[in-house]
Assembly symmetry: none
DNA sequence: GAACCGTAGTTGGTTTGACCAATGCGGTCA
DNA sequence: TGACCGCATTGGTCAAACCAACTACGGTTC
């Protein structure tokens, strides 16, 4: 390892060393603990009160540090005895928060978000089809089957749909793309659900959506990347067309 | 203001609505304020005490929210009179922060970052070619010409190359894609430059790169989206192949 | 003995109120 | 005029308390 060990997010700090804030100190100490192996994925951190005592700071300062780690997706928090703060096994998507604010700041429209999603998903679909990931295919078929159960409402369908699209991108094997897609998707989750509910003739709509998903699965099974790509694009674009102006 | 003001959606929250934490509420409110234009880049936020009073929460809770925003690179904080918390001018950079962070923690590799770039850029190239954006084409040609000036070193070339690729994506007209691409590029900027310098036979390499860029421009001019897409993919992939293992 | 239930203790969530520490502005004094 | 000093503002930090989930354990009941 180099002498320039990877450090927790403190890009170019203009702050003098002696005025480092308490929570930054805590982040450093925790980083050390992780680097030394003292703390590993899945481990539970000491309680907030413990950490405060160990590091000689107050609990609010500890909490600020924990909020940072949480925002970065590194820890998860649950309250109650035998619960507490744990280092995540799989770091969680830190992009979700950022996406929200980025969209707000740029006053980005839902349309451009959807377009962005299409770019990623169509790429992923093409790749999955070309590679022929059997595992992904199985998962997609499972979601598809679930979508077919009679009487499924909009809410239930929506979560299966989300899982389907996420799995599709995950199948491409690019963690970054997966995270970004997930974040962009959750950013319009509510809008998406509203759009689903607003559709006239729900059973008919549902059947159509199921057919479209099935088409994508077929194209992937056939190893036809171009078709898979195109079908995903059409699927998403068609769905949103009538809701965007 | 309406009782149901337009809001961006929140990421799937497993927490019941009534147990949302105070700082999350604050994040929502700030997001609203930003989305509505009440707060914009460069603006100074009300003081912590003000925010606490406005939102009816305590100052520590406000501070937790601010730490999240700070971790995401959205605000900068300075203490003292006439200072305070300000929304950063260039929120796009926030993505770069996070990307770098992911890289540092090995949650993502340079390879997957490059692959991700390819996904976005090839999509953009296809779109630009199909739409035939004359403006974009002109800008790309300008960058290309600049790349041809004799004696151009790696550093100079690199910045022109960056501008070329950024302009390509910008031409697709999707701000989100542009921001994300820019961030993913700056995150590996240093690595990229190192790779350029490490290439044997710089003049030869440069000529090859220029030819590849020219090929993309030609395909766009010809309106051949598929070719443009493929050429961009090949261009980026080839460049990085020998540097990733 | 097994299923149930309530209570105690642990842990995060939040508030209050206080004081410290930078920083810039404006007034004062040489 | 210019250097200086203090005050107001704002972030940084702490202490102590209470609330709210949640688990585990022990007692109760069948």
């Amino acid at each position: 390892m180099s002498d320039r060990s990877p450090r927790l997010d403190r890009p170019a700090d203009d702050r003098p060393a002696d005025s480092r804030r308490a929570f930054e100190e805590i982040l450093d100490r925790l980083e050390q603990a992780i680097a030394s192996g003292e703390l590993g994925p899945g481990d539970r951190l000491p309680s907030e009160r413990d950490l405060a005592a160990r590091f000689g700071v107050s609990r609010p300062s500890v909490r600020e540090a924990l909020r940072v780690l949480e925002a970065l997706g590194l820890v998860s928090v649950r309250r109650g005895a035998e619960h507490g703060v744990t280092l995540r096994e799989e770091p969680q998507n830190a992009f979700a928060h950022l996406f929200r604010f980025h969209l707000a700041l740029n006053h980005t429209s839902v349309a451009s978000l959807v377009e962005f999603r299409v770019a990623i998903e169509s790429w992923a679909a093409g790749l999955v089809a070309a590679r022929g990931g059997a595992e992904t295919l199985g998962e997609l078929e499972r979601q598809l089957d679930a979508m077919r159960q009679p009487g499924l409402g909009q809410v239930g369908f929506h979560s299966l749909d989300a899982a389907f699209h996420l799995e599709l991108v995950r199948g491409a094997g690019n963690e970054l793309a997966t995270s970004v897609l997930e974040a962009s998707r959750t950013a319009i989750q509510r809008t998406m659900l509203a759009a689903l509910v607003a559709k006239a003739d729900w059973p008919g709509t549902r059947d159509r959506l199921v057919r479209e998903h099935a088409g994508v699965v077929d194209a992937i099974r056939a190893g036809d990347g171009a078709a898979a790509s195109r079908l995903v694009t059409d699927h998403v674009t068609t769905f949103w067309r009538e809701h965007l102006d």
